[in-house]
């Protein structure tokens, strides 16, 4: 069975590509990005199509690359009565996601102070391997935090109520049960709340370089030359431990429920089983932890701006535009074969992108659709997109999540040998600061696909719509 190109932006992996496929695979990709498409990643999209209860198709976005079990960039939805939930379909960094913050400042006001700003931010926001957070949480704090998510942060003085309204699911998934969380996850979570982490996580100061849709940009509060801040991080060691714990639990469940798997990292359990109930509840706790994390980091970012620019909160006008998860599983209603169905939608390195009018959107975005935040690499750009009706009908209201790597760490480090990535970035007007010894080499632009290509595919396939392009001027990395 061969892969078939459906149109300029989609290829199909037909049923039969691997044994046991229940639905086809669809990858959103054009011929430019297809050059980077790995054989292993295609197989993973096909493997997911073999899982019980999967509906319509196993999808992948143009930033696809090989992951564990599920490919990064994968979207898969399962019927609640016959389907499964899989920790591998969410990933180790549960609710890894992005938040975008607007300000009243413009580029020319910020550039003269950008070095100071980057220094202050990197001092105020712990990042990098082995760094500890400023918050010292008691066990009860942790319990409250996992139940309440970003609301916990706001209640404790880290931000404003208005921030919650601009966060996916209000920054809190109901139904997190702290009693299901392992002691190990509690311990890993205790010192890492309010930390950025390392690798591709970052905090970026950007400006609006281009607006594609003025009406929507107005509704979002975005205008050309305006300074924005993007925060990319997740649930840190807390989420990693929950995933690790449940991979072991699900491995037993697979035997118990006699589920055939083509790859052991696809371990899962029937949605209505006790194992699945526990995983979903623990995953919600980690999702809430991540929302609180991004909320706290945003709060310190606000303080850093106020300090550096000696400006009042009112004049600064720092307000959350949106916060969106790109590693999560959620129960959502979708139409399949003309019928409304409740589905367990897994997005692993894919972003929810709901259309205008969707009931889950905050009132102010009802008319334009859900904001979708797509970070690129530190030297190129990031995008603000919106969800579309077509995306809702086709890909369970989902789109891409970033650029996707093309070079491995070592390849990148080799390529950076004898060069100063920090200086090269400065030459193009981007001040970077990183904690790790090799982070900048690993994270250089050449290590990633061009975000512009990735966004073109999802925009041309109409599963999302372009609003604005953001260019970095200051980057804090782990």
């Amino acid at each position: 069975m061969n892969i078939r190109r459906l149109d300029k932006y989609r290829i199909e992996i037909p049923i039969g590509y691997v044994e046991g496929m229940r639905v086809p695979g669809i990858i959103y990709i054009d011929e430019v990005l297809e050059k980077y498409l790995e054989e292993d990643a295609i197989r993973q999209v096909a493997n997911v199509a073999t899982l019980p209860g999967i509906v319509k198709a196993s999808y992948a976005m143009p930033d696809i690359h090989t992951g564990y079990g599920f490919a990064i960039g994968g979207v898969a939805a399962f019927a609640l009565d016959q389907g499964v939930v899989s920790p591998g379909g969410v990933g180790y960094d549960i609710n890894c996601g992005v938040r975008l913050v607007r300000t009243n400042l413009v580029k020319d006001e910020v550039i003269p102070k950008i070095r100071t700003l980057v220094e202050v931010l990197s001092f105020e926001i712990p990042s990098g391997v082995g760094s500890k957070g400023k918050l010292k949480l008691s066990k009860e704090d942790e319990r409250q935090l996992m139940i309440k998510g970003a609301k916990w942060a706001v209640e404790n003085g880290y931000g404003e109520v208005d921030d919650l309204m601009h966060t996916e699911s209000g920054g809190c998934l109901e139904g997190a049960d702290p009693s299901l969380i392992s002691e190990k996850a509690y311990e890993r979570g205790r010192a890492q709340q309010g930390t950025l982490g390392s690798g591709n996580h970052f905090l970026e100061i950007q400006y609006v370089e281009e607006v594609y849709d003025k009406k929507s940009a107005d509704a979002l509060g975005l205008f050309p030359e305006q300074i924005t801040v993007m925060i990319h991080t997740g649930s840190r060691g807390f989420g990693h431990q929950i995933c690790t714990d449940f991979i072991e639990i699900m491995a037993k469940a697979v035997k118990k429920y006699d589920i055939f798997l083509p790859d052991r990292e696809l371990v899962c359990a029937p949605i209505n089983s006790e194992e699945a109930r526990q995983y979903i509840s623990a995953m919600k706790a980690a999702a809430n932890y991540a929302w609180a994390n991004r909320q706290c980091i945003m709060h310190w970012t606000r303080e850093a701006f106020m300090k550096v620019f000696e400006i009042s909160p009112r004049d600064l006008g720092m307000r959350l535009i949106y916060d969106v998860a790109h590693n999560i599983a959620k129960v959502e209603e979708h139409v399949v074969d003309g019928k409304k169905m409740k589905l367990m939608v897994h997005r692993k390195g894919a972003t929810r992108a709901f259309p205008p009018g969707h009931p889950e959107l905050p009132e102010i975005y009802k008319n334009i659709g859900q904001p979708v935040l797509i970070p690129g690499d530190m030297g190129r750009a990031s995008y603000v997109l919106l969800g579309t009706k077509e995306g809702m009908e086709e890909s369970f209201g989902s789109t891409c999540h970033g650029a996707g790597r093309v070079l491995s760490r070592h390849q990148a480090i080799k390529k950076a040998k004898g060069r100063s990535i920090r200086k090269e970035m400065e030459e193009i007007g981007i001040i970077v600061k990183s904690a790790g010894r090799e982070t900048l080499a690993e994270e250089m632009s050449e290590a990633y696909k061009d975000i512009n290509n990735v966004v073109e595919v999802v925009a041309n396939a109409k599963i999302s719509k372009k609003v604005a392009k953001l260019r970095p001027i200051g980057v804090v990395k782990g």
Binding site: E38, H65, T66, G67, Y68, G69, I72, G91, Y92, D93, G128, V129, G130, S131, K184, E187, R188, R190, A191, Q192, G197, S198, G199, G237, H240, Q241, C243, T244, I247, E248, A251, D263, R264, E265, R405, V406, L407, S408, R409, H410, Q411, A435, G436, R437, E438, E442, G478
Partner: protein, 139 residues
């Protein structure tokens, strides 16, 4: 053969290939390979001794649980091992002593953060009297 490990990487993640004359050496080298991602091990002194016990259902399961326990120790305490001694090892359990120190930003370089050891493409085998393992980590 001197037991050793080699780091390799895939597009998104990192892994280690480990070689040894017996399973104990594999488990020891896998641990050192993991610690080497956190910082430069040359800078770590043997100031602290940790004892670790793991129960599992198979050798593969034991290997992943062992490495995930070490990731946990680093994440929570900042502990990085320089030398590892596996005392008891069978299919269902192991006990080990690890000599190392606590991570200190001022003394040690910041390497990469490992989220977990995974079962993805995991290999543990014996060929021509040589044991080898291949483990991928999520970063």
């Amino acid at each position: 053969m001197k037991p050793h490990f080699q780091v390799f990487d895939t597009t998104g993640d990192v892994g280690i290939n480990v070689f040894g004359n017996n399973l104990k050496e594999i488990f020891e080298q896998a641990a050192i390979g993991l610690f080497s991602f956190f910082t430069d091990l040359e800078s770590i002194e043997e100031n602290i001794i940790k004892t670790v016990s793991i129960d599992a259902e198979s050798y593969e399961n034991l290997l992943i649980k062992w490495l995930n326990e070490l990731i946990f120790l680093f994440d929570v305490e900042g502990f990085i091992g320089k030398r590892v001694k596996i005392n008891n090892l069978n299919e269902k359990s192991l006990t080990a002593k690890i000599m190392g120190d606590l991570f200190d930003e001022k003394k040690h370089s910041q390497g990469i953060l490992i989220k977990a050891a995974t079962y993805h493409k995991l290999k543990l085998e014996k060929k021509n009297k040589v044991w080898s393992a291949s483990i991928l980590f999520d970063i």
